[in-house]
């Protein structure tokens, strides 16, 4: 066996500047297809990377007539990117799938995270409910970024707030995940919010 096979077809590693001493992490969460990977790709200084995680999950209840709690092994992809913020600090953005069945993975993803940016599709608000439940159950502070690919489709912030039952101080920003400046603004809004939570 040859170790080179591990690096075939993958981008070469881009090492951090030698002075970088500390790493911080923000998780980008949202339902499937909401634009997490696009968002990370817009801001990352490296080609976004992916790992494939194998985990044991409860199989769908409809398949489990015996009530024995059948398990299955499944694979979920984690996408992430990197932003070197200064000569000594680097930020990682981890895209985290929002399904309850991946709760095992959330332990890993959220350890040491500064907070979460919750991407929301205004046309599929109901898909966001389980994601918010997860974010809150893990005690993460978060901001909401309403990702709309079509700028002509406007959303009423009050409707979003009401539908998602947000606290009054939870930021809600508009964001186009394909756009660097717009994505960066959403991230800055989250960090400003985290600062206010520090008092």
């Amino acid at each position: 066996m040859d170790s080179r096979r591990f690096s075939a077809d993958r981008p070469a590693a881009t090492y951090l500047p030698a002075g970088v001493r500390r790493a911080v992490k923000i998780v980008v969460v949202g339902h499937f297809g909401v634009g997490k990977t696009t968002f990370i790709g817009s801001l990352s200084e490296i080609e976004p990377l992916r790992t494939e995680e194998k985990m044991t999950v409860a199989s769908a209840p409809v398949d489990d007539l015996s009530g024995a709690g059948a398990k299955e092994t499944t694979t979920v992809a984690l996408d992430f990117g990197r932003i070197t913020l200064s000569e000594e600090l680097v930020l990682y953005l981890f895209g985290t799938p929002g399904q309850q069945r991946f709760v095992q993975l959330w332990e890993d993803m959220t350890v040491g995270a500064l907070g979460a940016l919750l991407l929301v599709d205004p046309a599929r608000l109901e898909s966001t409910f389980p994601v918010i439940d997860l974010v809150e159950s893990f005690g993460l502070d978060y901001a909401v970024a309403v990702n709309s690919f079509d700028p002509s489709v406007r959303f009423e912030e009050s409707e979003i707030r009401e539908a998602l039952d947000l606290l009054p101080d939870t930021p809600v920003v508009h964001c186009d995940a394909r756009d660097v400046a717009s994505s960066a603004e959403a991230l800055k809004e989250l960090v400003r919010h985290l600062l206010t939570r520090k008092g």
């Binding site: 790493a23 990197r82 930020l91």
Partner: protein, 124 residues
């Protein structure tokens, strides 16, 4: 309806991960988190009989600091497997780690200000 049997669980991927890790319990995220930075310690010799996976980690970690998640992604390993192999290398003194920061509740205001300042500098 079919009931899952033991055979169903033994997929090729499952066996591969099990063999790579020697069937040991995987370390938890608090031992080595996804964004912990790692690099090879200077002047170390690759252990004889190192597995292909360890050789690949040795190669990629020799060039500078990367996060644990980057090492896993570049090698095509699940993070849990990469974490175990990296933890072994660290315990054997082959790997340097730059500690990840404490959990969110303990993140200090200064760090958040640095993050915000960095984003403003990069993106306006």
């Amino acid at each position: 309806m079919t009931t899952p049997s033991e055979d169903d669980l033994v997929t090729g991927d499952f066996v591969r991960s099990y063999v790579i890790t020697g069937g040991r319990r995987l370390p938890s995220a608090t031992d080595l988190s996804l964004h912990t930075l790692v690099t090879l310690a200077p002047d170390r010799e690759l252990p004889r009989r190192a597995s292909p996976e360890v050789r690949a980690i040795w190669d990629i970690c020799g060039g500078g600091y990367l996060s644990m998640a980057e090492v896993a992604a570049h090698l095509g390993l699940p993070t849990a497997v990469a974490r175990l192999l990296l933890t072994d290398l660290a315990e054997q003194g082959h790997l340097l780690r730059r500690a990840a920061p404490p959990p969110a509740q303990a993140v200090d205001r200064g760090t958040l200000e640095e993050v915000l300042h960095g984003l403003q500098t990069l993106f306006g």
